[in-house]
Symmetry: D2
């Protein structure tokens, strides 16, 4: 169940060569809002000048007709993000647009650099000034300080200095540049949008953005690849030596939309398989299978199918949940959860229920849902989680709670079961997870389940010791 | 699939005796927004004075902290509605609050009076002035003109003059009055909210509003019943002679939330049974059953269960659909539908699909969805509708399209099938519908499927001839 | 010095026969905002239908391009008002638009009916319902209940029942009707706007509205006159027997703009003469004459001229005073006045100052200004008021404080002088006031200075006893 | 007559050591809005962290209670500015806040650097990135790149590299630094606000800001002076070698409020003297003296006094002029001016009028006013300007039109007279101007009247040749 759990930093979208570039970027971002809808920005180029508009708020609120009308030109990049709270929120909204000796540059970034602190420290010492706390600004400074004469060369040089996760869009007056880190942590899909016989290249975090605008998915931006798109066409090149891949498995477990293809694999297939394997590994003597909406739906369908148990939509979402909701001062038990979910007593009453969700973070929400189901008359509640216990935070662009807040980092499965007040609790095994995403050749990062990080985390660890966790 | 199809005029909520009356009304309306979210209003009484706040917009937008803070007092009524377009929108927002010889009165109304035009004509002739076009104002005029001295007596007299559908909330400085038309067209549930040993009466269009605030459903406001709630307690009385009941069956087919109990029956049970009977009546040689979200979900689960076919969530909703969405000027085929739905190709490709929806109105949306599913690779698309063909408009509070716009009013099932481009099309029978809602004693109105209206429609017909359809 | 002193209820404007009627109404209201800028409304007719838009806020905020675009048609009436606080504010915004047996009618009103309470009581008893507390609604009810068949006849009948002050604009689909009470309490000027050889009639509270749109002032709407403007042209007729005139003298003293002609006389002439006569009646042995901006400017110029003293602009206004200004919590002495005025020390220091203002209400603001001038170094401060002491409230459309709040109702001039801490205090005499407005034949109402009201005030007095002062 | 003529870039305000620092900055900016009201910003420090809030809009709109509540701490700097149009508007809003190796720094700046282009070119080459086009960012880069270890030392080093006009406020976590360019182009006053026996230093562009908050003016920040304010107290030091002074004379002619003391001299005294000398130099055989409001008021009073002619307020301003005003599409002659001014016919008719204004820029507005006065019946119109002809743009922080747009740069006084259709036209002489501001020792800059600039303008000229005039 979203949100208050994990937060993806952002979604990105780019298009080149279409007379309505900004409007299509807007539509693309619209389809990607499950990845973050607290700020939105688009930067467009008409070949001579970049114009950037960004603001706090959901895509459809930020981009009204007059705002879109200011974003002329045939190339555009867009960004939508989960917003950090507080004063830096606006400053960190993307795309980030600056002027430097490489000209006007706009940059939009999904991911997290693991050596951003060191780099920033060096830049700081050398006299750079920073507006915001984003990694994007670090990359921009590296580009500006590069002795290379061209933007692509300077960007290449800059990216060879950064470590961690980045799916990156760069727009200059004349050029769109796409780059992805050598391990391919975060997704970045490529497609084409046909327009009067011409094929405009498009790029997006997930393919569901292509579906909305009628573009066709053609493959992944390869890890370690840089793609240059300009008036003369498109050039793809490798800018970094090959490294093992580390695709974020949590994209398949939770983040991405089930109708997207991510890392080349349809998310829906992974998710259904997660449910099937979960049913095999953790069966339950029960009457019905109920998903925790919306995150548990696909896995619950798989579980029910595999277990030959009836699938029942017995938790109903209250739509229209706004951020500024006013809570009653007379305490209503479990109110926050009630605001989001309501059980269907007629389905649950007297039943032994398998409840399927995608993860347990602090355990508090899961407990409230288990109680809610029990109060609706369930005789037994069997909680099934479609991945292994989450024990360690992510440093590659997912905004997980800290280790201390992750119940599974310090509690056994039985202790968690007791805490959430379920009759039984089952997690999918690591093996099951690998199988569900068909990871036969170690292409995925499982660090949040194993605490084995595929890269060094020197800077991050220094930061953690200083107590100031970084976004 | 909502919306652009049928529109419920509104939802209503009332509470008496609670120190946070307005806030609970706000929460109640929040849970009822699927019935209309274009305007929202609450009127509260502190025992001496009514204060009313209403505005265009969704409940959470209209009622901010400062606005709620102005609504002090222990009694409140609330209203949220689907808004008619244009200039009269604000004027028609409810509750309607006036002063007259019966004191200050606020009124909120769900339904439609079938003799409102005649009544208005008479009032008009007698010198009444009208601000808006709502039926509520007609009732208020009748109350004000009544020779009766008390508000309840005047309201009784007024209601005996009106015909049609009304679930009505009336608030004066000292009293809350609830009334429901003798046929019980529209739902109106009653419950209690316990507070420190005292039980506050609550009333709502659907019981899901009770669930959110932790109130307990105790039964229906009876058709033809008036309930007076005041400092001395609650009095229930019959104000109109008994008549046959005419509960709106469409509440069970489509409007109400599946987690609500409506007309005394859990909606989920009806909806699952609609799917099961549909599977029996209109089986399909297919591979998977796919609901059109969100309206087709419960029926699709029933269908899949009964047909022993796998249930698959293969149409994904784009959330965050705003009203002011900017469409691309480069025409994208079926864009409006894409904005709301995206097919999951990996589930659909190569499959024979049973698509379950709750109704077909004009046929255009259904055709777009059938095409979308086919484009996602479906080998066959079998459309199944969980009720009979909709052939006639509603005059009892549902904002259906006119007869001309209803494809089934002029086309055979086979013609519709051809139009929507499905391989087969099946509707549930009238008999199946009756059975699904367990209507053994003719308690429901099926006029939209049969064109047999349970009441006279003199005024309405006159109006229809004049071409100015009334809300 | 404005405001917090006297409030004019409103300004009105009408135009007939111009393709941009609503836009010209908007401009007219714009020029009249000194009479009230808390709500604004315009109702336009395209010959078939009235459309009304009104809202809280200043004219330029309420009427944006899209709002004006909705107000098509060649006839329009507009209203801007000083808003009463609290919940009824929006409901009382004008024009008031209703439907009744005389068709659609919009009404905008400047003034106050002295028998509104009795009329309302009767209407109430007869079953009328009221949305708001405005007198306008009373007139509308009388019109609707009239047995007369035509709107003009019904309006005539209605107006013969009301007493007090009204300058009234009425718009129906086909017709614009203008009426003014038989005593002519409130101003109402008439003009023509030439457009391609056609002359469109225009009506406004003050002629400065004509100046802005390039219209020419042609005279007054006569007291007791009704003017019918329609497709066939304009008809002027007397609807009420002749009565003595009672023009509000305070329009010349304070309300109207100095560049307006009001009651047929240029306001600037009156105001300069007020200052001259004040100098004759209450000379001062001083060095400079300083106006309290902006209300004292014209009288101060007259005073300085007459007294052969230098006129000095030694109190500077802080512009941009908004209503929602946030005050410092650390108390700053006389802060509210500081926010509006700042003295020019270099002009005042060491000088004997004559301070000219248009009135003293409670005395508190005057005291703050006297202190401020003294702190800026004035050796002596001689306060001169360009009218007699205000001792009694107005019941004809000016929102004066209650009698208790008027310092001059209970204090002698010497006591007031002591309270405001001036070295001397002089008021203009009644005789001077009459002379300044050239009132040779008793055409003016001086009730606020004399407590002699030209009409019965039965209803008002009843109300006053009940303690609920009416707007 | 303001505006559309000259634009001051901004106003600045600082306070240190007061628990309500941000609120007082807000009040200070409020009093300074005549210098620019299109964007407003405040940055406050609580000793550990800077928080900055800025936005497009007037001070009272930007700073609502919740926004001010976020600005805790005892030190604050504020800025309000005339906004350049277009996309860079928000980015250029001040204060500018960054992080660098000198810590967190906020900067607010009034003035214009004449070598900003060269400096920016160098920084650019060295790899600096720029968000905006403001000079402030250039200074921040110089500070960040300085090898000096402390902020004051780095700032000193930076300021020794810049040329032109700057009155500068710098806030770090612990310190407030004030600096002013060696010639003292722009004003910067110093004062103290007493609070419970402690005296908090305050700084502002004009002393009227001190008056509003009850602070006392103590003198000027000296040209070439840097003032360090911190927990240990205040240190004043000279950071640049002494240079001749170049105070902007236009502050006395037009910009500053008459109640301010600027460059140590009360503005009102200068302005009255401008009028007196103008009367001596350019007498007119006339009946009345009329100021063009509000800029011509003080000079007109001086003129009238000196000429022994009656002063008459015969042009009335329409208040409430908003930026988004909707003009009538049916052209109304001289509409823009009418929106702002209306003549008082009763004062003007048949008279020979001396019209006093502070300057003529393009001549178009002056012509409209002359025509307006003539249409109101003036027999003769004698235009008098209280300074010499404006022939050359300002490069020190005043946003004058380009040389081509200045009518006096290419036309003789007689030609201008003809263009503005006045019967006679008189400008004050340079000698008169010097005398009015008592400039006995060449302390003022008169470049806009003489085209003799007190500093080199190498960068500016290069820029001008490239056609891209810089703000």
């Amino acid at each position: 169940m979203r949100p208050d759990r994990f937060h993806e930093e952002c979604a990105i979208f780019a298009i080149y060569g279409h007379p309505e570039a900004a409007k299509l970027a807007y539509l693309g971002l619209y389809a990607l809002q499950h990845r973050g809808q607290e700020s939105a920005g688009i930067c467009a180029s008409d070949g001579r000048r970049l114009v950037c508009r960004k603001s706090m708020g959901a895509v459809a609120d930020v981009f009204t007709e007059p705002v879109l009308a200011e974003l002329g030109g045939a190339a555009a990049i867009g960004h939508t993000r989960y917003s950090t709270a507080g004063s830096s929120a606006y400053l960190n909204a993307q795309p980030f647009t600056v002027e430097c000796n490489k000209g006007q540059i706009a940059m939009a970034h999904n991911g997290n650099l693991t050596n951003a602190i060191e780099l920033r420290r060096e830049l700081d010492a050398a006299g750079s000034i920073f507006q915001a706390t984003s990694d994007t600004e670090v990359i921009l400074h590296l580009v500006a300080r590069s002795r290379e004469r061209t933007l692509p060369a300077a960007l290449r040089e800059a990216l060879l200095q950064v470590e961690g996760a980045y799916s990156l869009l760069v727009l200059s007056e004349k050029q769109l540049i796409i780059a992805r880190d050598p391990r391919g942590f975060r997704p970045l899909a490529m497609g084409v949008l046909a327009l009067d016989g011409v094929e405009c290249p498009v790029f997006a975090s997930e393919t569901c953005a292509f579906d909305l605008i009628g573009a066709t998915y053609t493959g992944e931006v390869e890890p370690g690849e840089m793609i240059l798109v300009g008036p003369e066409g498109m050039v793809r090149e490798r800018f970094a030596p090959e490294q093992p891949r580390s695709h974020c498995v949590f994209e398949h477990v939770y983040f991405s939309r089930p109708d997207s293809t991510v890392f080349g694999r349809p998310v829906q297939q992974s998710r259904e398989m997660l449910g099937r394997l979960l049913a095999q590994e953790c069966p339950a003597d029960a009457d019905i299978v109920v998903p925790v909406p919306d995150s548990g739906v696909a896995a619950a369908v798989g579980y029910a199918d595999e277990a030959h148990l009836p699938y029942r939509v017995a938790l109903i979402r209250n739509h229209y949940v706004g951020r500024t909701f006013i809570e009653p001062s007379q305490a209503i038990r479990d109110f926050g959860v009630k605001l989001k979910l309501n059980p269907v007593r007629s389905l649950i009453d007297g039943k032994r229920v398998v409840l399927v969700d995608d993860s347990i973070v602090r355990g508090t929400t899961s407990r409230k849902i288990v109680r809610m189901v029990r109060q609706a008359g369930a005789r037994e509640v069997h909680l099934r989680i479609s991945c292994p216990p989450t024990i360690s935070p992510c440093y590659y662009g997912v905004d997980t709670p800290s280790k201390e807040e992750l119940i599974a980092s310090s509690h056994s499965v039985e202790e968690i079961r007791e805490y959430v007040e379920a009759d039984s609790l089952g997690y999918l095994s690591m093996e099951g997870l690998r199988q569900a995403v068909t990871d036969t050749d170690n292409r995925y990062c499982y660090a949040c389940y194993t605490a084995h990080y595929p890269t060094d985390l020197v800077g991050i660890e220094a930061l953690l010791q200083s107590g100031d966790r970084r976004r």
